[in-house]
């Protein structure tokens, strides 16, 4: 495996990371949550194979707020999907807490997404038929069968309400997504991503569809989660002001890591 890795990813092309730039001191001893090595992915467009990722190595430590930036088509969203196990890389390896996850069977990946990795998206991706509360409860509903869910219903609903309270939506429990603003929907999505108490939160341009003030509110919440609740966050964004506040910023260009910078 390592030889293939060498082939696809010659040492000479590896990005140079200057040694004086490091993570924030609080994160130096933190264990690695997520790690990829030599991840490649290409999509077919008709008969033409379009390479999206040409070998990406990143590392995320516990408690870190990592931003992945890059131009459109640099492969940042694809990378995030691979991290979330929504897709499989063509080659390379992804490790979640020391365990390789890119080649897991579907059922294990479902469990991983359900309990260990939370996701938020640019377009919120709430289920339109369900209320805010039900959307937040969805991960535990998926995890539990009817009997088990009904037995623990009170506990789950209490937690869901707490999470909605945390994102400032305790007055919107019974509202459907279409009755809410974009910022409110994104806050519901954040509450949902935290429902299963995941180890890692993956965010795909969560402010991309919001105006400045709503976006700022969302970023406040995300930062609060990171600093107050120690949630590890990997966020894809093209907003440099957001990236500036991240512990580590990975810049992708043409399917490769172009540079890695740390917050000073």
């Amino acid at each position: 495996m390592s030889s293939a890795f060498e082939l696809t990813y010659p040492k000479s092309q590896q990005p140079s990371v200057s040694s004086n730039q490091t993570l924030h001191p609080r994160l130096l001893q933190a264990p690695v949550v997520l790690k990829t090595s030599g991840v490649t992915k290409s999509y077919r467009k008709g008969k033409v194979e379009v390479p999206v990722l040409r070998g990406v190595d990143i590392e995320v430590v516990e408690g870190e707020f990592q931003a992945i930036v890059g131009a459109s088509g640099s492969g940042k969203s694809t990378l995030l999907h691979l991290l979330a196990t929504l897709d499989r890389p063509d080659s390379g390896e992804i490790y979640f807490e020391e365990n390789r996850i890119d080649n897991l069977p579907a059922a294990s990946r479902d469990i991983l997404r359900n309990r260990y990795i939370g996701m938020i998206f640019q377009f919120y991706h709430l289920l339109p038929e369900l209320t805010a509360l039900e959307n937040v409860l969805m991960p535990v509903m998926i995890n539990h069968g009817i009997v088990s869910y009904m037995l623990q219903r009170r506990k789950f609903r209490k937690r869901a309400k707490e999470l909605l309270d945390l994102v400032g939506l305790s007055h919107r429990l019974k509202h459907r997504p279409r009755e809410m603003s974009g910022g409110e929907m994104q806050r519901v999505a954040i509450a949902r991503s935290l429902m299963a108490n995941p180890r890692l939160l993956l965010a795909d341009e969560p402010t991309g569809n919001l105006d400045r003030s709503a976006g700022d509110e969302i970023m406040e919440i995300i930062h609060e989660l990171n600093s107050n609740y120690d949630v590890t966050i990997v966020m894809v964004t093209h907003d440099m002001s957001i990236a500036a506040r991240a512990d580590r910023t990975v810049r992708l260009a043409e399917g490769r890591v172009e540079s890695v910078s740390f917050q000073s």
Partner: protein
């Protein structure tokens, strides 16, 4: 948990799915209604046919019948033993009836099937007595004219008949004769037609034994040839000829009056006299005729029988036709009819009898009641089967409707599928959401259909009435069917099958879309806008 919740929410929020539900509902309701009505009709028909016909009939191929019925019946008893519940001998021959229409006075002639029956045993082999109009005849048949109260418990508003009618017509007749002889000094035989039939003995070829003294209440057993002392003058006000029971349609027609109400028009009634002409047993047969007095009507509500059967005492037919073996003195009959113990296999019995009375030697036709009405029963069965197939195709069409609707819904819900998968829902779970959706569509649709169908069946006659009022079109014409109500039988097993079938089709129709949903790639699905 989420599967249930989402199936339910989709069901509530997708009105397009209602269309599929409605088609399932209609299919199920129609199937239940049609099956119930068909079952009602065919059951009614079976009952009628079986009621009219005895279980097994041994019929002589020759009109002059099988000789020595007693010997035959003994033989049959030996073969079948305890299986026999009742047995009777009868004669069935073609005949002509001739009577005077009491409305317009002209003579009416019709072909009929004359059946000579043994009054004491005939009622036991079939439900014959149940179809008689006079309550006493239903209890015990005696071929004697009753005072009145015909149609009691069967046909209310039946016109005055019996002795009450006979006396009035006799009086009217006498008056007419008297007036005419007084004024015109004419012979009684030249009296012009009157509204009531004239009793006339002159056409009888020496066989017209009158039944004397019956009106006075003397019991004569089978009212035949009971000649006490030859009476020279027959008094129609107090005497009757041999009794005859006519199929009600022979001398009545059902039609509508000016207001569209169903009405029965009677050309003759119990108490009136008729002439019957039959071929005698000579070589070649010659026509012989005799007078009979209508003592009752027979109404089985099977038009085939009601319009052709006429029953008279067996001995009377034997005498009239001369069916007596000169050497032995025994009288012939043309059929022997058997009623068997409940649950006896008719075909086995038939085979046993066929072995005892082989065709080469005896020339008898041995038939079960099903054989006799085989083509009719088979036609009804075929009709039911074909209707069921056609109607199930309706539900299958509903299934395709569900298929199309579901594909649409899956396309519409592509992003939701992506969301669910990103939240860790397994493909199987996503598939079962849509399967559950199909299941609930099928269940709700067929449940509502079941209720609607049963309500419809329960009130079918009221509904038929409404439709008649609204459209002015007759839905169920009692003048055609002879039932006043549409007969229905709800078979729970059929209902269960129909409902299960509809649900199965709904689920099968949702399999393909559900598989499509399950196979969606989460990334593609999330990107879908």
């Amino acid at each position: 948990m989420y599967k249930l919740l989402l199936s339910w929410r989709y069901l509530k929020s997708r009105y397009i799915a209602l269309a599929s539900i409605v088609s399932v509902t209609l299919g199920v309701a129609t199937l239940i209604v049609v099956n119930s009505v068909m079952a009602g009709f065919s059951d009614e028909m079976h009952k009628r046919l079986h009621g009219i016909l005895s279980d097994i009939v041994i019929r002589s191929h020759d009109l002059n019948g099988l000789p020595d019925p007693e010997w035959h019946m003994d033989e049959i008893r030996q073969i079948l033993g305890d299986d026999i519940k009742a047995m009777t001998a009868a004669i069935q021959i073609p005949a002509m009836i001739n009577f005077r229409n009491n409305i317009q006075g002209q003579w009416i002639t019709q072909p009929i099937t004359l059946i000579g029956v043994d009054p004491s045993t005939y009622g036991a082999v079939s439900d014959f007595s149940e179809y008689l109009l006079h309550p006493e005849n239903r209890e015990q048949l005696d071929f004697l004219l009753k005072e009145n109260s015909y149609g009691l418990g069967k046909r209310e508003r039946f016109p005055v008949s019996g002795w009450a009618r006979r006396r009035v017509s006799a009086e009217w007749e006498q008056d007419a004769v008297k007036t005419q002889t007084d004024t015109l000094e004419l012979d009684a035989s030249d009296i012009p037609p009157s509204p009531f039939p004239l009793v006339d003995d002159s056409g009888v070829e020496g066989r017209g034994e009158t039944v004397a003294g019956l009106a006075e209440g003397q019991v004569h057993g089978a009212a035949t040839q009971a000649v006490d002392e030859p009476q020279l003058i027959f008094d129609p006000a107090t005497e009757q000829h041999t009794g005859i029971i006519l199929g009600i349609s022979i001398c009545s027609l059902r039609g509508r009056d000016a207001d569209g109400e169903v009405m029965d028009y009677y050309f003759a009634l119990p108490g009136d006299d008729v002439k019957i002409t039959v071929p005698n047993s000579g070589q070649p047969p010659k026509a012989v005729s005799d007078n009979f007095t209508i003592v009752d009507f027979y109404e089985s509500e099977m038009s085939e029988y009601d319009s052709s059967f006429a029953f008279v005492p067996l001995a009377k037919v034997q005498d009239l036709r001369g069916m007596v073996d000169v050497q032995s003195g025994t009288k012939s009959v043309s059929t022997i009819q058997l009623k068997l113990r409940e649950g006896t296999d008719l075909n086995t019995v038939k085979e046993k009898l066929q072995i005892r009375f082989p065709i080469q030697q005896f020339g008898y036709q041995i038939q079960t009641w099903r054989d006799m009405q085989g083509p009719l029963l088979a036609a009804v069965q075929l009709e039911t089967t074909i209707l069921n197939i056609l109607l199930f195709l309706i539900i299958a069409v509903a299934g395709f409707g569900i298929l199309a609707t579901f594909f649409m819904i899956v396309v519409e819900k592509t992003r939701d599928v992506g969301i669910l998968k990103s939240l860790g829902a397994p493909s199987g779970g996503v598939m079962s959401i849509f399967l559950g959706y199909g299941l609930s569509l099928g269940t709700v649709g067929s449940g509502v259909g079941l209720v609607l169908g049963l309500l419809f069946v329960d009130n079918i006659n009221i509904i038929a009435g409404w439709i008649e009022k609204v459209t002015g079109q007759e839905v169920f014409d009692p003048t055609v069917y002879y039932f006043n109500q549409i007969p229905v039988i709800v078979n729970p097993v059929t209902c269960v099958w129909v409902v299960l079938g509809a649900i199965t089709i709904a689920v099968i129709a949702s399999i393909l879309p559900a598989r499509k949903a399950a196979k969606l790639h989460p990334v593609e699905a999330l990107r879908y806008e």
